[in-house]
């Protein structure tokens, strides 16, 4: 069907997350679902349709649906390499459609991928420590390397940050899309070493004679804290230095994030759109979701901290409350909760008990009653709450949730609030987003007055 004139374009999704991996073959698509017959079990990973891309031609050669594996035969992690799709809206219509080579001339579509890793600059403040890769504008279907270059690198050295490839539309797969493939997940080092070859690194790229990342130091616990530092500070590979400082090994990695731009000319007008891309560590527990995810953050940013009751049905709110409980017991099974509780002071791991002790001088002591925090007991408790929610009982535990302004409450009761014993990005106790909490509050606030069974006579009050 002939469409009207293209008036707007978008890249969807507007944010994609790639996951590092050294394998040549990205991980297949999968869905993570809850088995309705086993509501307390792990989520189930189910195969989903996956494009097979010929990287030489840039064309999709087929679709498979097979059991995903997360490492290849050589035990290399398979990267997550997302597609970014080009969508458009035509004059006279409100619908957004995934554009094909029939809609626009693929040769006229121009892409640019610009990514960087500025972790070191963040600490040293030296703009010459920025690692960046920029493809420039392109319309070809070649697989383009994202060479991460840096002024402070040894001449001729770079860090591979992955690839970008404009997928060649074909008769079978005519849609327009770009694939971002991230780096391998390698560690890189400096041309100056303290002793012998370093088995951790794959290349010596950083020129210690130009930049100061090798040997850079931060105070481990500056008082007052220094806002420019991460919190907690000094979270890079290094060694103890003088005066409670932490001295960098000069390591670098191939994580990155950046912008994918697209432009095309239609009807004499140039249309543009962009998406964001980030490449981070692999998901080592892909069937388990954190209690608070980036999606929760984004939802709060987009929709605000308060929930409008009109936007959700009682059932939806109830499901959200269940989902948070599910994530809670999923998280619990990944933790040695007895240890996280600070029960064994002989070997002080990085736990919240230790964090409280290190940051504020609070006594190193368990957070919860020691008898209650073995993983099985904590798991059982959360599953018990989850089970009850399944009956339709409104959540009753709002008061044990930590408020966002209680993250620094180090009283016994404050430390026992939920989520328990977990650190947030600000180094203090984890809280749900305000929006997550508001959903639970609303779910608690609204009862479902329907009858457990339709009566023979029916009753309007029970409908």
């Amino acid at each position: 069907m002939k469409r009207g004139e293209l008036v707007e374009i978008r890249l969807l999704p507007p944010l994609v997350v790639a996951r590092l991996g050294a394998s040549d073959v990205p991980v297949d698509n999968y869905d993570v679902i809850v088995d309705p017959e086993h509501p307390l079990a792990f989520r189930t990973i189910r195969p989903a349709p996956t494009f097979i891309v010929d990287t030489d031609t840039g064309a999709i050669t087929g679709v498979v649906e097979r059991e995903p594996t997360f490492k290849d035969e050589q035990n290399r992690v398979r990267p997550v390499a997302p597609f970014i799709e080009l969508w458009g809206r035509f004059d006279g219509g409100d619908d957004w459609v995934h554009l094909t080579a029939d809609d626009v001339d693929a040769d006229a579509v121009r892409w640019r991928v610009h990514v960087g890793n500025v972790k070191v600059t963040r600490r040293t403040g030296d703009p010459d420590d920025r690692i960046e890769a920029d493809t420039g504008w392109f319309s070809t279907h070649d697989r383009l390397s994202l060479r991460g270059e840096c002024a402070n690198f040894v001449a001729g050295k770079s860090i591979p940050l992955g690839y970008a490839q404009f997928i060649r539309p074909t008769a079978d797969f005519p849609h327009l899309r770009l694939r971002f493939t991230p780096g391998s997940g390698n560690v890189y080092g400096s041309n100056r070493v303290t002793s012998g070859p370093d088995p951790n690194i794959v290349d010596q790229v950083y020129d210690a004679n130009k930049g100061r990342w090798f040997g850079y130091s931060e105070p481990t616990s500056p008082i007052p804290p220094i806002p420019a530092f991460t919190n907690p500070g000094a979270i890079y590979a290094g060694n103890d230095g003088p005066n409670n400082s932490w001295v960098s090994f000069g390591y670098l990695d191939d994580a990155c994030d950046g912008i994918i731009d697209v432009e095309l000319t239609a009807g004499g007008r140039t249309l543009g759109a962009f998406a964001r891309v980030g490449a981070g560590a692999p998901a080592f527990a892909p069937d388990t979701f954190p209690i608070r995810t980036a999606a929760d953050e984004l939802e709060q940013i987009l929709l605000g901290p308060d929930v409008d009751p009109a936007d959700y049905s009682v059932e939806e709110l109830q499901q959200d409350a269940e989902e948070i409980l599910r994530r809670a017991f999923e998280t619990v099974r990944l933790m040695n909760t007895a240890y996280m509780n600070g029960n064994d002071p002989r070997n002080i791991a990085s736990t919240m008990s230790r964090q409280d002790n290190g940051d504020t001088g609070r006594a190193f002591q368990p957070i919860m009653a020691p008898t209650l925090v073995d993983t099985l007991a904590v798991l059982n408790l959360h599953q018990g709450v989850f089970t009850t929610l399944r009956s339709g009982a409104p959540p009753w535990f709002v008061t044990v949730l930590r408020e966002f302004n209680e993250i620094g409450d180090l009283t016994d009761l404050g430390r026992r609030k939920m989520p328990g014993m977990m650190r947030n990005a600000d180094a203090r106790y984890l809280v749900l987003t305000r929006r997550q909490r508001d959903k639970i509050r609303l779910a608690a606030n609204r009862t479902n007055g329907s009858s457990a069974r339709a009566t023979q006579t029916g009753d309007p009050a029970d409908e």
Binding site: P39, L40, N380, T399, T447, R453, D459
Partner: protein
């Protein structure tokens, strides 16, 4: 009251007034005066234990009645304007029930301290209320039942309005008899345990603390202001859940004083004069006053049957009892709806499991210890809480199912029966206690299977709950098998060691 309890009270009861006698004998004008002698078969120490037994039963009975009343409240049966009130009332009463649970557990701690057996029992049908606050009645929340709750928690000298109205309604709801104040019993216990001439110091056994319940384990963060403000934050003046480990006469007396205060006291007061904590009495009274302001005929509860029970067998024929119950007759309402029948049995079973778990927790040492290993105590405490949640789920289902076969839930719903099991005794050996749990879980799984295969089937959310419950039970069974093996191994090792000697 069970005859074995009443018998011990008779010695201090006025023979001419058997019903009121107990309270009168224990209370004198201006304060509490202990009788000159304990009952003939009891020493003072035994008498103190006896009063603690009675207190445990009363706290248990109150918490179940409050829970039942709260579960009958339902905002969907009132108009939009008053739904927030009903939600808040429900939350307040559930909060008070939790505090009664704290009292119940605390009294067990005192029993532990005086090296006495625990008492997790409760009066069941048929009932009598010699020394008890009022006839044990599971009933929907009415102004009458609310007045009873106010009465038992009220200070002795409460006379300001609406005292007369509340007292009259309470008497009417209690078959013409005035309920008894819980405060009288606590006054008796405090007076006796404080008396160094009657109760020697060595009555209190401090090294029982490891076998007591601690706030850290049982308190679940319910500290001052933490309850009653769940939904709206406009009712923050709630006291904390009182659960304390006691190791001396002073700490035991202090604990009992706190419990008495939480029931009827005026509570802590801020420098501004504003009450920081509201006693049960004050919170119940607030509900009463708000209810009066809306109108005496306001009915915020589902029509849940009074004293629902299930028999062992489901009657085949529809046996409809359309007669209005006689308010002076302590009736029970037999559940005959086929689906409600099985849910009710499941509710009874899980209630029993809760009490068995609670009793078992008191047999396991470790309240004050530190550990990096799985502890039986931790598991059992967790299970106890899980059963509390299950009771919430099951009550929610049962108040929406009809009492009678072919009946209409909106006119007469079943409700959770909370019937007491034939025994709460636990086997002597630890390995056999785990076998005890195993049997209860197996029974529950079988009952779940029965409900799942009913025709017509339960609603989807009921089935979803059962699936999760079954899975949870199966996991618990796996753990129990390990516990049994571990305990059996310990027993075998002990036997082998004896043989070697």
């Amino acid at each position: 009251m069970r005859p074995k309890f009443a018998r011990q009270l008779q010695s201090i009861v006025e023979p001419t007034s058997p019903r009121r006698g107990a309270a009168e004998a224990l209370k004198a004008p201006g304060g509490f005066v202990l009788p000159a002698q304990p009952p003939p078969e009891l020493s003072w120490q035994q008498y103190a234990v006896f009063l603690l037994y009675v207190a445990a039963e009363i706290e248990h009975a109150l918490l179940v009645q409050y829970l039942f009343a709260a579960y009958t409240l339902d905002e969907s049966v009132v108009d939009e304007e008053h739904r927030p009130d009903v939600r808040r009332w429900q939350e307040i009463i559930l909060g008070i029930a939790k505090e009664e649970m704290g009292h119940f557990i605390s009294v067990q701690n005192v029993l532990r301290l005086v090296a006495a057996p625990l008492n997790l029992e409760r009066e069941d049908y048929p009932f009598d209320s010699e020394f008890y606050p009022f006839d044990f009645t599971l009933e929907k929340l009415t102004r009458g039942s609310l007045s009873k709750y106010i009465y038992v928690e009220m200070p002795a000298d409460w006379t300001t309005p609406p005292a007369e109205e509340v007292k009259a309604l309470a008497r009417e709801a209690n078959h013409g008899e005035s309920p008894n104040r819980v405060g009288d019993l606590y006054a008796a216990m405090i007076a006796l345990l404080s008396d160094t001439t009657r109760i020697p110091d060595d009555f209190f056994v401090a090294d029982t603390t490891g076998m007591q319940a601690s706030f850290a384990e049982w308190g679940r963060n319910y500290k001052s202001g933490a309850r009653g403000n769940l939904l709206t934050r406009d009712h923050p003046k709630t006291p904390e859940l009182i659960i304390e480990i006691v190791d001396s006469r002073d700490s035991a007396v202090s604990l009992l004083e706190q419990i008495a205060e939480q029931g009827e006291g005026v509570g802590a007061v801020h420098l501004t004069g504003e009450a920081l904590e509201l006693s049960h009495f004050r919170r119940f009274l607030d509900i009463f006053n708000e209810w009066s302001a809306i109108g005496a005929d306001f009915d915020p509860s589902r029509n849940v049957a009074t004293n629902p029970i299930v028999d062992a067998d489901l009657p085949e024929a529809a046996e409809r009892d359309d007669e209005e119950p006689d308010p002076c007759d302590p009736v029970t309402s037999t559940i005959t709806d086929p689906e409600a029948f099985y849910w009710a049995h499941l509710q009874n079973l899980r209630y029993r499991m809760l009490l068995v778990d609670l009793g078992h927790a008191f047999h396991l040492d470790g309240a004050l210890g530190s550990t990096t290993e799985v502890t039986a105590r931790g598991e059992i405490i967790t299970w106890t809480f899980t059963e509390m949640y299950n009771l919430r789920a099951l009550a929610g289902i049962l108040v929406r199912l009809p009492l009678e076969r072919g009946g209409d839930a909106s006119k007469r719903a079943a409700g959770p029966p909370f019937q007491m099991p034939y025994t709460l005794e636990l086997p002597n050996r630890e390995v056999d206690r785990w076998r005890w749990h195993r049997e209860l879980l197996r029974t529950s799984i079988a009952l779940i299977g029965t409900i799942e295969t009913l025709d017509p089937p339960p609603e989807p959310r009921g089935l979803a709950y059962l699936k999760a419950l079954r899975e949870s039970d199966e996991r618990a069974l796996e753990m129990i098998e390990k516990m049994i093996v571990a305990e059996q191994t310990k027993l075998s090792a002990r036997k082998a060691a004896k043989g070697a000697v």
